[in-house]
């Protein structure tokens, strides 16, 4: 069963100029994005800056209103609600079911509130009575591995990793169905990063959470995700089960991303390669496949037609004309 079904999701930002704010162009931050997240599973959304992964995440959280498309979400096992057209007030009762873990553990906690109050805020908002709240806060702190005394402290007393735990406790307070984790470890030290990744995995196992994990490289994704969707310039270029994506990437961009991760192995030195050129400008993408100027496998067709995301192998989708050739 799916917790989230995103179909045809697009978000365009107008580029305006002059006093009359005339639209002179559009940034297609997300363009015809499709994916599903199954209950209890994690989908990783991977791409470099400007690829639109954050836009997609923000549309799902409805911090942004999509230009087109549907975001069907199951707040419980019976219902499936399209979030895309809902108004602010219609969204409010649904918000508790989708929660966000922020990238920056420093900015995401109100420095003027005690940790206990920060974690209890979702409970206050939803009208949980006081004594019950207190017990729940203790339970949540325990869940994320913080001592109960932490609730009487202010955020500035905690390290980045501890703050991220507090942020996770807040996100879990209302027993959400879906967690959107927006690069939750990229601001942390390596040793702390591992702790948080393990915590997320444990919590998912215990609580049956579904998760959208947004990341800018393929490093940590391997550990957390069941499926991976790779985005490039506003579009998903490849979706596959994690092991398969790493074993047989069927889009040249995925290959480039994998090759670009510096491997922690001095014996495999010259394995690190980089695609030429720069990420295309989403306000002015090249015609055809957006990756064609950087692609080592480019053919004439790539410069004219845009490849659709199609199933190349079972459960493995790629938006490349030469995907089947890459398989060999």
């Amino acid at each position: 069963m799916n917790v989230l079904e995103v179909s045809g999701l697009s978000k365009h930002f107008p580029i305006v100029a002059g006093i009359l704010r005339r639209e002179i162009g559009r940034v297609r931050a997300a363009d015809d994005v499709n994916f599903v997240i199954e209950k209890g599973k994690t989908l990783a959304l991977v791409g470099e800056s400007g690829c639109g992964k954050t836009t997609v995440a923000r549309c799902i959280l409805r911090a942004l209103r999509p230009t087109a498309g549907a975001i069907r979400f199951a707040p419980d096992d019976e219902r499936m609600i399209d979030l895309a057209p809902l108004s602010r007030s219609a969204l409010r009762p649904l918000r508790r079911h989708i929660q966000l873990i922020f990238q920056d553990p420093y900015a995401s906690l109100n420095p003027r509130m005690m940790v206990g109050d920060i974690i209890a805020e979702p409970l206050v908002v939803t009208g949980v009575p006081g004594p019950e709240r207190e017990a729940r806060v203790r339970e949540l702190l325990d869940l994320v591995g913080l001592p109960a005394v932490a609730r009487l402290r202010f955020p500035h007393a905690f390290s980045g990793g501890q703050r991220q735990r507090i942020g996770i406790a807040r996100a879990l307070a209302l027993n959400p169905r879906l967690i959107v984790a927006d690069e939750p470890v990229s601001a942390l030290d390596v040793s702390v990063q591992a702790q948080i990744i393990n915590l997320l995995l444990d919590l998912q196992d215990r609580l049956g959470l579904s998760m959208l994990f947004v990341a800018h490289d393929l490093g940590v994704v391997r550990h957390v995700s069941d499926r991976v969707a790779v985005m490039y310039v506003g579009r998903i270029v490849e979706v596959a089960p994690t092991t398969e994506l790493y074993a047989t990437p069927l889009h040249p961009y995925t290959r480039a991303l994998l090759a670009a991760v510096p491997k922690a192995d001095p014996e495999a030195r010259d394995a690190i390669t980089a695609p030429r050129g720069e990420v295309a400008d989403p306000a002015n993408p090249p015609p055809g496949c957006a990756f064609n100027p950087r692609c080592p496998f480019v053919i004439d067709r790539c410069r004219q037609d845009r490849p659709e995301l199609v199933e190349v192998a079972p459960g493995h989708l790629s938006a490349c004309f030469r995907a089947t050739e890459l398989m060999a």
Binding site: T126, P147, A150, F154
Partner: protein, 367 residues
Amino acid sequence: MSGSLTDDSLASAGQLRLTWLRFKRHKLAFVSLFIVILFYLVAIFADFLAINDPHAVDARRGYLPPQAVHFFDSDGFNPHVSGMKGQRDMKTFKQVYVPDPNKKLSVTLFARGYEYELFGLISTDRHLIGLAKPELLDGIYLLGTDALGRDLFSRVMVATRISLSIGLASVSLSLVLGILLGGISGLYGGLVDLFIQRVIEIIRSIPTIPLWMGLAAALPNTWSVIQVYFAITLIISLIGWTELARVVRGRFLALREEDFVIAAELVGASQFRIMLRHMLPSFTSHVIAAVSLALPAMIISETSLSFLGLGLRPPAISWGILLQDAQNVQVLAGAPWLLLAAVPVIVVILAFNFLGDGLRDAADPYG
């Protein structure tokens, strides 16, 4: 994990306490805080600190120079001032008063003097210091007297009350206007923001002195001191709110994008709750700093208005009105002590500026 959790005192210190700790390191601002508090104490206990009735006119003791208080005489500790002796200046044939060293007037604490109402409630005639046995023309004139024989020290005390309270009242009014309009501007954005911002720019682009002159000239002569007082407050704050509105708007715009505000939105908190719980506490310190920087400007405004004769009018007493007497070079040559009324203005303005700087630095260590 326990490493940073053991540091108890700091860990459970709120943002306010941290701000206070940072503020305390700012020595000049810290001293200024006490000076400002001292001034407001003077404002509250002005009548108690005054020695003579600030309105009592007696031309015979006009332009008395400042008197010194002697603490000892041949009998040991016996605080006293010299009495005054009337005599005629044989060159100008003017009646002048000169100190009479043979006439000792004892000074005591908590002496009886003119009647006043402490805090506007308790009727009393006790003053901090005064003469033990007051006679008709005797008195303590620490800062001398003006042309009409009114005691400058007492007048400065009472003026402090008016000048500081008018500043406070104007700031409060500006604050209400500033938070309201700045808040609306920052929260709603769009056309409302555009409109309010343009209004602010227009107000700020009008030269203030002509604007004040125009507005003050419109005040009817028949108005009472109280009415004029409030009218002046209004005029000053009408200009003062723009700066505060900008501060508030800026903070609102910045805070709206903060992760922790977004987090509150995502759990379904209402706009009202977000404002009250997350946004307001985050900029109170900034507002306090802005206020402490706006206050001196307001005080200066009142002083300069009154000095130019556009603000409060006698019999009201304010720093500006006291300085009005010192406008004339001839008068100053004869009675330079009248200029002493400028000292509290300078001190309090400097203190407020240092205080505001300190508060701003403490509230926002990164800005």
